[in-house]
């Protein structure tokens, strides 16, 4: 297998190059910049298969992508933090327009103050904008998920946000299986959607619509997104046959007899997995897909394993409510006959998730609130 030692950012960029895109429009922002720099290098060598343009803002980058998709192009962009926040209006435009855009967001907290920590709130706060969201736990997952996202988006005509943590994944180097370009392009194939503006046919896109039309459009978009877990599973079955790897929307590693599990997404899941042998009696549920939220699958895992307690690792905080993942899990499991106790390990910002923090949380009683613990972090 052609393994390469690359960073998370490089894995994302090489996946885009392998998939083949017509246009990359982007604006530099740490910790994402290495993705677009790598793509600019591919373009300079004539290996991107399309064009690269660095425009005047993130807003312009996603607007440019919207236009290009309307013209039939397969596009990609990447951003972080303030860049994603700045795109907020265009993010919704492109899901409303049913444009299958693939974007990578490298998690970074949003200011004020100016901050670089890999908080997940930038992407999680975009949960209601009509994009599918998939969280990756290592560079190999980044590579594979970016490839799969093109297929998922083009099948459902919905945009995909592939998410991974700033610095922990974006800037660390790992061995990644990087398949040859021919093999990937044969697997993915050319864009699976039609151009909407092209010579010869007059098109008038996204004009003023009335209430009933809007209701129909929103419902159809919602129903189509609900098909994502099923399409994701089908893509992964096919992916496994060609590349020997596959992923689930939610993955569980539950040691025999464990009634407690950590639930985590992104690099925190990888950290929990690493310490699992030392966290006696605890398992791990890794959440990959966040939108649509795979609640049915999560409920099935909880019931099958008879889990009594879930500790949700939230490297984020929805001010006034708590962690995003904890909120979603509570809502998704509400319908179970026997519900597990849900405790939110609220670690907004970017402190290092250590074994001590995990063990400290596991040792608490199910009734305890997991806040202001003895993390070894001084909270002023």
């Amino acid at each position: 297998m052609p393994y390469e030692l690359i960073s998370g950012c490089q894995a994302a960029a090489i996946a885009v190059q392998r998939a083949g895109v017509d246009l990359v429009a982007a604006y530099p922002i740490t910790p994402q910049t290495a993705i677009v720099e790598t793509l600019a290098n591919f373009e300079a060598k004539g290996e991107l298969g399309g064009e690269f343009v660095s425009v005047e803002s993130e807003y312009s980058a996603l607007s440019c992508c919207n236009g290009a998709v309307a013209a039939g192009a397969r596009v990609f962009t990447a951003t972080s933090s303030h860049g994603l926040a700045y795109m907020h209006e265009m993010i919704q435009w492109c899901s409303g327009a049913r444009f299958p855009i693939v974007m990578v967001n490298v998690n970074r907290a949003v200011g004020a103050p100016w901050v670089l920590d890999p908080d997940q709130g930038d992407s999680l706060s975009q949960r209601d904008t009509g994009w599918m969201q998939i969280y990756c736990a290592n560079a190999q997952e980044v590579f594979d998920t970016v490839l799969q996202a093109f297929m998922l988006s083009e099948e459902l005509l919905l945009p995909s946000l592939v998410v991974f943590d700033g610095f922990y994944i974006s800037h660390t180097y790992e061995p990644v299986d990087v398949p040859e370009v021919e093999k990937v392009r044969e697997f993915i194939g050319p864009p699976q959607f039609q151009a909407q503006v092209e010579p010869g046919v007059q098109a008038n896109l996204h004009g003023l619509s009335k209430g009933e039309t809007q209701l129909q459009l929103v419902r159809r978009r919602h129903e189509d997104m609900l098909r994502a877990p099923q399409v994701f599973t089908a893509i992964n079955e096919k992916f496994y046959r060609v590349f020997g790897r596959s992923y689930k929307t939610v993955d569980a590693t539950i040691p025999e007899g464990s009634k407690t599990a950590f639930l985590a997404a992104g690099s925190t899941a990888e950290t929990v997995k690493w310490f699992l042998p030392e966290l006696k009696g605890c398992g791990l549920i890794q959440l990959r897909m966040f939108r649509p939220f795979p609640g049915d699958e999560l409920g099935r895992i909880v019931e099958e394993q008879g889990l009594e307690r879930l500790i949700i690792v939230d490297r984020n905080c929805s001010t006034g409510t708590g962690g995003y993942f904890a909120q979603e899990v509570r809502a998704a499991l509400y319908g179970l006959t026997v519900r597990p106790v849900i405790q939110d390990l609220l670690l907004a910002g970017g402190i290092d998730l250590t074994k001590d923090i995990l063990a400290g949380a596991a040792e608490k009683s199910p009734g305890d609130k997991l806040v202001d613990q003895e993390w070894g972090v001084e909270l002023k």
Binding site: T33, E37, F52
Partner: protein, 279 residues
């Protein structure tokens, strides 16, 4: 009689060393601004430095004036609010080329059109230095950057020409090499009522320099000297020769009434209830 303020009253010496790379001209520019404020004897608490994101956006960390650190590109938008909130304050917006002309380009042209009484100091180092040297709207055509390994295909903005066309009252260009001129211009710009722009062509040995000139501080400083020519010489050149240089000097100095003056004349009642001068 009050004690004369020195530049040290505006500069946080305890924040040294500066985070900028060796050979970066931002330190020279920072000293010129603090010197100008000292010359004008404006008390530090009457000055608000408004910044965005980028290497030059870090300048507020080293100043003892008020500092409003905002998001990328919005220094002028925040500054407009600060000035309207209290017109007694001197607002100085510190922006890099990407901050001012790319993501903040809209605020830049409208601040000039509105002629709001803000001093904009644009440190133009021809690329996005902080994120690692990508091309910006002032990167010269065909220059190499990390996002244009074989050369950028877009022409650069003429920052001063743009400011002039949009209506700024004071527009000047200098370089990190021309220290005396730089200080003179910043002093004039702070004194000018209305929108003023000082574009300081700056060095970035680490990124732009290394890819296009040389990575050492002396070469990039020499480059700034070589690509510029002062106004009096420039005006005697023919068009072909002019195209080879960027002109330095005071390019606009006029007294079009600033936004607040016009606003108050049109609506005196609204101003009477406001803060600052009208109290």
């Amino acid at each position: 009689m009050a004690v004369k303020l020195s530049y040290r009253e505006y500069f946080k010496e305890d924040a040294l060393p500066l985070m900028w790379c060796s050979g970066c001209g931002n330190g020279i520019l920072l000293r010129a601004i603090t010197d100008s404020l000292a010359d004008l004897q404006i008390p530090p608490h009457q000055v608000v430095v408004s910044t965005g994101i980028g290497c030059w956006g870090k300048a507020d960390d080293y100043m003892k004036t008020h500092a409003f650190h905002g998001s990328h590109g919005r220094a002028l938008a925040f500054g407009t609010g600060i000035k309207l909130g209290n017109p007694d304050l001197h607002v100085i917006a510190l922006m890099g080329d990407g901050d001012a002309l790319a993501i903040g380009g809209n605020h830049f042209i409208h601040s000039a059109r509105r002629n709001i009484d803000i001093t904009a100091v644009v440190s133009n180092n021809f690329n996005y230095g902080m994120t690692g040297g990508q091309y910006s709207p002032t990167t010269p055509l065909s220059s190499k950057t990390t996002t244009s390994p074989i050369g950028v295909a877009e022409p650069a903005f003429d920052v001063c020409g743009l400011s002039e066309q949009c209506g700024a009252n004071y527009v000047a260009r200098t370089t990190a090499y021309h220290v005396t001129q730089m200080k003179r211009m910043i002093t004039a710009a702070i004194q000018k009522k209305g929108f003023s722009v000082v574009e300081v062509l700056n060095t970035c040995p680490t990124h732009f320099g290394r890819r296009n000139i040389a990575g050492d501080p002396v070469s990039v400083m020499q480059y700034l000297k070589d690509i510029t020519v002062n106004k009096s010489r420039y005006e005697k050149m023919d068009e072909e020769e002019k195209a080879k240089y960027l002109v330095t000097g005071e390019l606009v100095n006029k007294d079009r009434p600033d936004f607040l003056s016009v606003y108050r004349e049109l609506n005196p009642a609204a101003s009477e209830t406001g803060r600052g001068e009208s109290k």
